[in-house]
Symmetry: C2
Subunit: 321 residues, 2 copies
């Protein structure tokens, strides 16, 4: 009987779930809105109902469901499947999520944070398939990180490892939300990128972005600055190159510490950014030790919008092996 | 029969070796000068002769020798026990050291670089005993590093991991010997510390060090600046505090990445430096994520001058388990 797992990606606005096979294909998918404040019980009941439906679908296709994996947007005690809290969804403090799901669905369940789930998904099914030592970064509002070490997700003894966004690259850098200064997140997080570009444009630097924004229909965003670079805009190309040098400086340090085989860059900021990638690669070659620099490849994430769901399912595949 | 291992610490000036028991005690020790250029064959023959003597000593005490561990001052292919080269000892390029030793002594042999050996020694027998996730730093002319992850030395797929001295903490920092800029080694390596202190003294800062140096018998060194701090010299206290903040900033980043339980600081620079340690600890508490910061302790290395030898023996204990 073919083996599958059910993946659940809990996000701020919707919960996505799906039946995923051993090759990382989503065979059946489903989604519903994440409940608002106080709706946790309802969200959990709804989730359990839909998981049972997926399980029934699997049975009708003569597929075996090995387990349930959940990627969740906050810190998790992975051993107990315990949710400490979700920074952006109120009402989920101190939830025994694994036990709740096991009880309601009968499936062996695994819970991890979404960045770790995505890292494992890319390692099992995506851009780092077949490599045992992987650094994954998700670039968005914040910088999420996941580490695969010797073939397994690395959590650290108190499940606090892989907070990759919060490594300082400049002691005099911008104040970070975490309380430190100059964390890489303060250079490549969405908010910083937009503020920095805005500041430069306001200071009089030339760019096609000014015309695009003058129309009033567009908002300054990493996506827009990315499009400008693809159209050859010098301001935007320089902007992504500088961002890539910063990211590459940070990654060169990590390469010297962890000697990874693949570095996977995902999330909106990493999409369609050839200048960013080129600068990251050149900087790692320049700054990391030669053997380590030669043995690592920097690659874009492959799983795209499904990374969360497939990553969540991969938690169950990894747990069940 | 009680179990032992033979540890060999190859250094630039001498080779130290000893019979080490399961508790990390050195039962018998020996040492001889490292041969000069071209003397590799003679050094190896001498080493093998002395290892056989230790083995005979073990036999006479009815002790079993599980194997031979070697800590070597350069990059190693740990799987093959292959020496690429020793930066400070000519004539050791591309040596199948493990096979050579096995052939000449009959003992199962393990070869690793000295920083890794010391890290494992501290984890098995020293300041990090009993902890599975450990970062070890040896502060001296350079900064050596070793990582224990989930109870095992972590080497990385091309044995290039744990080059902890070469993580940049300031993109505009001093040029480093590795080709990058602002590596932590450029702030806490011996040479930098002495140059920086000299610069400040020459710029007119007050310190008891000026009087000590005026006598002509003392040379400016980390040891001397350390003694000045212990005597309450404000210049020296500030100097070590600033150095600790830099080291702590770097370590806070590593704590967020690796979530270690112990950070072991060894080497001459770390000896008798209460102000350095205090600043390192305070900075980690300030800059790392709270759960990770709370679960780590920064401790001085325990094995001292024997760290290399005991660490080397620990390679054999770990390999034989």
């Amino acid at each position: 009987m073919n083996q599958t797992a059910i993946g659940v990606d809990i996000g701020g606005t919707s919960v996505k779930l799906g039946l995923v096979d051993r090759k990382g294909n989503i065979l059946v998918r489903d989604q519903f809105p994440t409940g608002r404040r106080g709706d946790r019980a309802r969200t959990l009941a709804e989730l359990a109902r839909r998981v049972r439906a997926l399980r029934a679908a699997a049975r009708s296709k003569k597929l075996k469901v090995l387990g349930l994996g959940v990627g969740a947007p906050g810190p998790i005690d992975v051993e107990r499947g315990f949710v400490y809290f979700f920074p952006n969804i109120p009402g989920w403090n101190n939830v025994r999520l694994r036990d709740e799901l096991k009880r309601r669905t009968g499936l062996v369940s695994y819970v991890d944070n979404d960045a770790n789930a995505m890292a494992l998904g890319e390692q099992m099914f995506g851009a780092a398939k077949g490599f045992g030592n992987v650094i994954a970064l998700t670039l968005g509002t914040g910088v999420g990180g996941g580490l695969v070490i010797d073939g397994r997700l690395f959590h650290g003894p108190t499940f606090s490892a892989a907070e990759l966004g919060h490594v300082a690259i400049d002691p005099n850098g911008p104040r970070c939300g975490c309380g430190s200064r100059g964390c890489i997140e303060t250079y490549v997080g969405n908010g910083y990128l937009v503020r920095e570009a805005r500041k430069r444009l306001d200071a009089g630097e030339k760019s096609v972005l000014k015309h695009w924004l003058a129309g009033g229909k567009e908002t300054l965003s990493p996506r827009l600055i990315g499009e400008a670079a693809l159209e050859g805009d010098r301001f935007a190309i320089r902007f992504w190159t500088e961002t890539g040098v910063r990211l590459g400086t940070f990654l060169a340090g990590l390469v010297n510490v962890l000697n990874p085989e693949r570095i996977v860059l995902g999330g909106g900021v990493a999409t369609e950014k050839p200048y960013l990638f080129a600068a990251v690669k050149a900087t790692i070659r320049e700054k990391a030790f030669p053997i380590a620099a030669k043995s690592v490849k920097v690659v874009p994430a492959k799983l795209g919008a499904d990374a969360g769901l497939i990553g969540a399912a991969s938690l169950a595949f990894a747990g069940a092996r």
